[in-house]
Amino acid sequence: MDFGFSEEQTLLRNMVQSFVQDNYDFDSRMKIVRSEDGWSRDNWKQFAELGLLAAPFDEDMGGLDGGPIETMIIMEEFGRGLVVEPYLPTVVLCGGILKRHASDAQKQAYLPFLIAGDSVWALAYAEPQSRYNLADVLVSAKADGDGYVLNGAKAVVLGAPWADKLIVSARISGNQRDQAGIGLFVVDKSASGVSTQDYPTVDGARASEIVFENVRVDGDAVISTDGFAIIEEAIDYGIGALCGEAIGQMKCLNDATVEYCKTRKQFGVPIGSFQVLQHRMVDMFMEYEQAVSMTYMINMKLEESAAERRKAASGAKVQIGKSGRFIGQQSVQLHGGMGMTEELNVGHYFKRLTMIDTQFGNVDHHLRRFAAQ
């Protein structure tokens, strides 16, 4: 039984931590968020140079043979820095799908550019009506020669404004919520018929509403004609990564809150001396530790059987949803009025943790999914 990290993993963590310390202090982060594009291409190049974009891929593809634990470490350190660049959509979601399910030809065609930092990816799976049901797909894929033609709309595609490549789920056959008959397609965002409405998200990132109007996809861009299990797996991997990001942020909030309560004086004493607040911070500490446990658990189980993976992912997502909500809310509360300001970093961690709960299915959704396993 070992919950320790290897030397390489510790080096990886230190490297990402250094990057965040040198390039992503809070002021720098807010400058990036408020810039017109809302992200930094320079940072993305640095991720490539540091090998972060290569982390989870096989060595023969130019990767570093990393697994979910390496991704978790990277996401945790990115989380601490509130990094907005689209590592999750590009490397974890789309990169993961390509790694596990693309043909050799497709891997050759796509992965080197992804790893080099030359192409940025987004996964377009949710739709305006779908809520968190991955099988609720109305975007249609009609057979056309060796390829398909896509029509329909995707919702809240995370990181899409920065992406040049999309992986899109579209229905080849079956009814609206059938798991069978869903295809997975690689689409150039610049392809004819693709239109996007880009917007900022409340947690400092960007997303798009995407409309596909007779978008032609060639046969070699089809990843799967029966891809529900692939999407589901990708989202579970996404959950594993999201858990890593969340525990990094929870730790920052807990540390900041304890420090604040030790220094903020009212009634002649530090407010941290009040038992009510002490117990509150203990509760926050316990929620964090439980979240860490579930984050380790999911990232160790991602490569197990699908049934085990699904249950583990839903359990972990429920945990970080609940812990993230509690720690976020209480951090704001214990910082008093300061926690309500846009100027202090606390509110931004709170907003990101709030959005993490709404992504890939919230607590209610995953309680149901957990029970159904």
């Binding site: 968190y132 409405q197 947690d203 009510v276 509360q333 008093g336 309500m340 509110g347």
Partner: protein
């Protein structure tokens, strides 16, 4: 014990409803709070003033309506049901009662009319960076200089100071002895030289609160309310009124009604979210908790109508009222699923803005973020619990 509405009550309700429906400015209906300009906040206030209905909670002799507890309750319900922008609270709920209770005749004569008519917008100079929960530790200093006080200090979390004409301000006039015994209550013109307002943007992206810097601000001695160094009693009186006005039962009913509309059109696997087990259970718990709060408030109002001022039990209203407000925004955010993500730009919401997602979803997360303030302001919910423990339970 009787809570039935009489025929007169029902007739009154119909009269109120009709008045609101016929007179509420059409361009304000459904306007996003972020889009409200200064005049928007005052529009309904002025219409109510003309009708004589702007101050239901005031004694009739000072411009109140003379309504019964039930009538006031009905008026509040109908206003919230429609979604009216209420009269400015800082004057109406806070300063007004202070002036007619503690003010000199001269002060009643010059302050009260402006509050009633809406011509004077008041803001609250209470909190300071070093004086939040521990308000009595405030440091803004007022030194007597002939027939003026010279005021120096720094107030924070001053709601809508950017629109205010005047500020009611707690200042320190004595640093010897107990902190509470050196506090005075001053009325300060925002246009006095030395007053600077600096915006504070909150996590929902809006501009509601400010810092106010006071540098050698000269305030006439006539603007002292009550006696010098006896301002703490007045401060606490005001806080009691602030706290009991904060339950927001009627507005929470409106918010729940809006949530139901959202949950009716949002679907979960083909079913309206409203009908699904998890959601409907949470909603029921909220509605029941709100009903309990409503009746607690009615009991408090009934006791007040018999002459009792808002006592420490009003802390229950503040705690439960704000927790319910927060839970409503939380459940509303859950209801919109993925569409919790898009950001609505509060500071520059212009014609270029293209809203993303279904109508009910716009700005829902930002409302959730904004409402985190309610368990902090008006005396944090932790402080409110201390008040109940000490003043009600005698612990």
């Amino acid at each position: 014990m009787d809570i039935e509405f009489t025929a007169e009550d029902n007739a009154f309700r119909a009269e109120v409803r009709q008045f609101i429906e016929e007179n509420y400015p059409k361009d304000l209906i459904g306007k996003d709070r972020a889009e409200l300009e200064r005049e928007d906040y005052l529009a309904w206030h002025k219409i109510l003033y003309k009708k004589g209905w702007v101050a239901p909670s005031w004694p009739a002799e000072f411009g109140g309506t003379g309504w019964t507890v039930t009538q006031k309750y009905i008026f509040g319900e109908e206003s919230a049901r429609f979604g009216t922008i209420p009269p400015l609270a800082f004057g109406m709920q806070m300063l007004g009662p202070v002036i007619y209770t503690f003010g000199s005749q001269a002060q009643k004569d010059w302050v009260l009319p402006g509050i009633l008519s809406g011509e004077t917008w008041w803001c609250q100079g209470y909190s300071e960076p070093g004086a939040g929960s521990d308000l009595a530790s405030l440091k803004t200093r007022a030194v007597r200089d002939g027939d003026h006080y010279v005021v120096n200090g720094h107030k924070i979390w001053t709601t809508l100071a950017q629109y205010a004409d005047w500020m009611f301000c707690l200042v320190r006039t004595n640093s010897d002895g107990k902190r509470q015994e050196g506090i005075s209550f001053l009325l300060i013109d925002m246009k006095t030289p030395g007053m600077t307002v600096r915006p504070i943007i909150t996590i929902d992206g809006g501009h509601e609160v400010n810092e106010v810097f006071l540098e050698d601000v000269r305030v006439p001695v006539e603007n002292l309310v009550g006696e010098e160094n006896k301002g703490w009693t007045i401060a606490k009186f005001l806080l009691g009124n602030e706290r009991s006005g904060i339950a927001g039962v009627a507005r929470s009913k409106k918010a729940i009604s809006r949530l139901k509309d959202i949950a009716r059109s949002e679907t979960l696997d083909g079913q309206p979210l409203l009908n699904t087990a998890d959601f409907s259970r949470k909603l029921s718990e909220l509605e029941i908790d709100l009903t309990a709060l409503e009746y607690t408030e009615l009991r408090t109002l009934a006791a007040e109508s018999k002459g009792k001022g808002p006592g420490p039990e009003s802390s229950i209203l503040k705690i439960k009222g704000t927790e319910i407000q927060q839970r409503i925004t939380e459940l509303t955010m859950e209801a919109v699923g993925n569409y919790a993500a898009p950001w609505v730009p509060k500071l520059d919401l212009g014609d270029n803005y293209l809203a993303i997602g279904p109508e009910g979803s716009h700005g829902v997360s930002q409302d959730y973020f904004n409402m985190r303030k309610t368990s902090i302001y008006g005396g944090s919910n932790e402080i409110q619990r201390n008040i109940i423990a000490k003043m009600v339970l005698g612990l």
